[in-house]
């Protein structure tokens, strides 16, 4: 998510090869878990001790004890203008771009001239507010759609007050999705020697459904030497140190949560005439569980 994700779709093929061996394991798990009902009960995950839950039940601005913001177009950050990906939006914390309403967090990408950008949106993060090593991170979300729309729910390792830099700090993308592929999302890890276009990623596709017409649960369960990825009741991937070509940087931490809705950028490309604005990313809840009962 963070920087230079070029050639991402080529990577998927590579990754599928990488996961050829794992495929068997995943298949077995799938067989076990697809028989579960599709309600909010997650049996694909085992950690049940809540560390934090934001159910977005209080109208107005998101709870400031949990959420902060990245503001701007990225030009005042190390990633640079476009957040390192050539993204087109200017992030704000205005109500127009982020609010809690009717029990959901709404992040709205709008087409409007704002401080030199053509689009506005929002990027929320829990840095310095909620950071954790290991555990289960999940969100129930309804995704936006359309060419050039790029929402993400992801974790970034703390930079130890700037003494460490990406990709050494580690990045776990729980959910990424481009709006012109409404039935498909993907989960990814970035670390040293496997960042950006070389990241380790796998896509998950819905067969008779879309991600933008109803809510779906996106989560990971993360422990020493493994990260399990799931959507709804389907565990679709596991990543371990054997799968990454560089150092495994996920047995350390802590990591914090980022939820953002990007417009344009190197991965989805720019919006086109048919992209409808505003586009809304709806988040019913974000829940974080400790690594326990394991």
């Amino acid at each position: 998510m963070k920087t230079k994700i070029f050639k991402q779709h080529i990577i998927y093929r590579k990754v599928n090869l990488v996961f050829g061996i794992l495929g068997l394991t995943v298949l077995v798990l799938l067989t076990v878990f697809t028989s579960c009902s599709t309600d909010e009960t997650q049996t694909v995950a085992r950690f049940t001790e809540l560390a934090m839950a934001d159910e977005f039940d209080v109208e107005g601005a998101p709870n400031p004890a949990i959420w902060g913001y990245n503001i701007g177009d990225g030009s005042d950050t190390p990633a640079g203008s476009g957040w390192g990906n050539g993204e087109l939006q200017y992030y704000t914390n205005r109500t127009e771009n982020v609010k809690v309403e009717n029990g959901v967090l709404i992040i709205s990408a709008r087409k409007e001239s704002f401080n030199g950008s053509s689009y506005t949106s929002a990027r929320l993060l829990t840095k310095g507010k909620l950071e954790q090593t290991y555990g289960r991170f999940e969100a129930r979300m309804r995704l936006p759609y359309g060419q050039g729309i790029w929402p993400a729910f992801w974790l970034l390792g703390d930079d130890s007050n700037g003494t460490e830099v990406w990709p050494q700090i580690g990045e776990i993308d729980i959910m990424e999705y481009v709006g012109d592929e409404p039935t498909r999302m993907f989960g990814t890890v970035h670390g040293p020697l496997y960042s950006g276009g070389e990241s380790i990623s796998k896509a998950y596709e819905l067969n008779n459904d879309r991600f933008d017409t109803g809510f779906h649960i996106f989560g990971i369960e993360w422990g020493p030497d493994y990260i399990n990825y799931y959507v709804d009741d389907v565990l679709y991937n596991q990543i371990t140190p054997d799968d990454v070509p560089g150092e495994w940087v996920f047995n350390r931490g802590p990591f914090y949560i980022i939820i953002n809705l990007a417009v344009g950028g190197s991965l989805p490309g720019p919006p086109n005439d048919e992209t409808v604005f505003p586009q809304n990313l709806l988040v019913d809840y974000v829940r974080v569980y400790k690594r326990s009962n394991n």
Partner: protein, 466 residues
Amino acid sequence: MKNIKFIYLKITLLFGLIFTMTVSCERDLSEDVEFGKFGTSGEVFIDGFSGGLSYDPFGDSKLDAFSVDSEVKYSGSASMRFDVPSFGDPLGAYAGATFRDASGRNLTGYDALTFWVKASQAAILNEVGFGNDFEGNKYLTTLNNVPLTTYWQKIIIPIPYASKLHQEKGMFWYAEGPENGFGYTFWIDDLKFEKLGTIGQPKPAIVNGEDLIQDTYTGVNLKVTGLTQTFNLGSGLNQTVSAAPSYFDFASSDPSLASVNEFGDIEIINDGAPVITASLAGVEAAGSLTVNSLGDFQLAPVPTRAPDNVTSIFSDSYTNSPVDFFNGFWEPYQTTLSADFQVEGNNILNYTNFNFVGNQFSNPTIDASQKSNVHIDMFIPSEVPSNMDFLITIVDFGIDQAQGGGDDTREQIFFDKSIWVSNTWITLEFPITLSSRNSIGQIIYENINFSSLGSFYLDNIYFYSE
């Protein structure tokens, strides 16, 4: 390729009556009501016809265009084969048919009609869809201009609003003409209604999504046009289909000024500028029609000539001769559009965005050998342009009874702008000077010398003898 017209006029008229009755006695359903139970099979043609299906080619099409092909197929043992005729084929000018299930099926559980298609050459399939039942086509749904390839590809035609299809009889229909004058073949296989689940984000539209303001008059009947439904497919592509009015719920901002019924028929009741809008399945449709009523419409003078002395092309006072079209939409140079309307039962031709336009009557042509003059009533609803220069051409098609062929003759009448007055019917009467006048097939109206006349109405177009 283009300009295919279907002969639905009689059907439309018949259903006009039925619709009127239905609307006037509309009641809510009681709680006890149960819809009839109809078959729910989605299969139309897999390796043969599904039960109860009949094949009904359109009356003026190549009747034998369709066959079942066991050589070429996408899967299974057979496909549907369609042989599109070349230009001039005596068996028919185009291929077109509807496939009906006489008892009707309940399609409410599906979200699309899908099929696999390939063609003997790259081509554009004019129209394909469902809901054509020869009984009013209440839920007609059409995908227009579908690019065909020489390899198999899957086509998805979203159902605009599946909850409406409790008893649909029109399972599939198509119409296709020659490609650059030449015939070709295409095959369709695995034709069925499906619940894909990957279709979403409905974006209905009326008036093609435009906010149109149209000048009109009290008593005028208009129709909401440009009705479409767009869905985002699982591929991420938007698919737009033409959708019949009955999928929509129409509304008037002021029903005391203009009413609109479930078929999108608007009646102008009083002066004002009410706005007609619509929704489909609770989703507000893009586009609107503001009907700007200018007050009472002045009808053209009622003709007084004896019917025996008249051969009429367009008049509510006489029995009209068969007409091919009142607007041929001649490509590529014609810009003229038609927005014909009706006032108190009186039909008016309304040409807009005018440069030139023609009326054609070639089946049969008109024998005016016993007629001496032409009569046309014309009305310019806006200011008469200062550079107005107007030409009317009468074309005799000659022995071949068809346009072209080297035997056509023409009479051209130039009109001075001084004869016109804005907002007033002007009667044009002029003698027929053609020496050959027993095969008259066209009347053409033209702006010449950069004349900027934009719109006008016509009524009472006829040949007469004195």
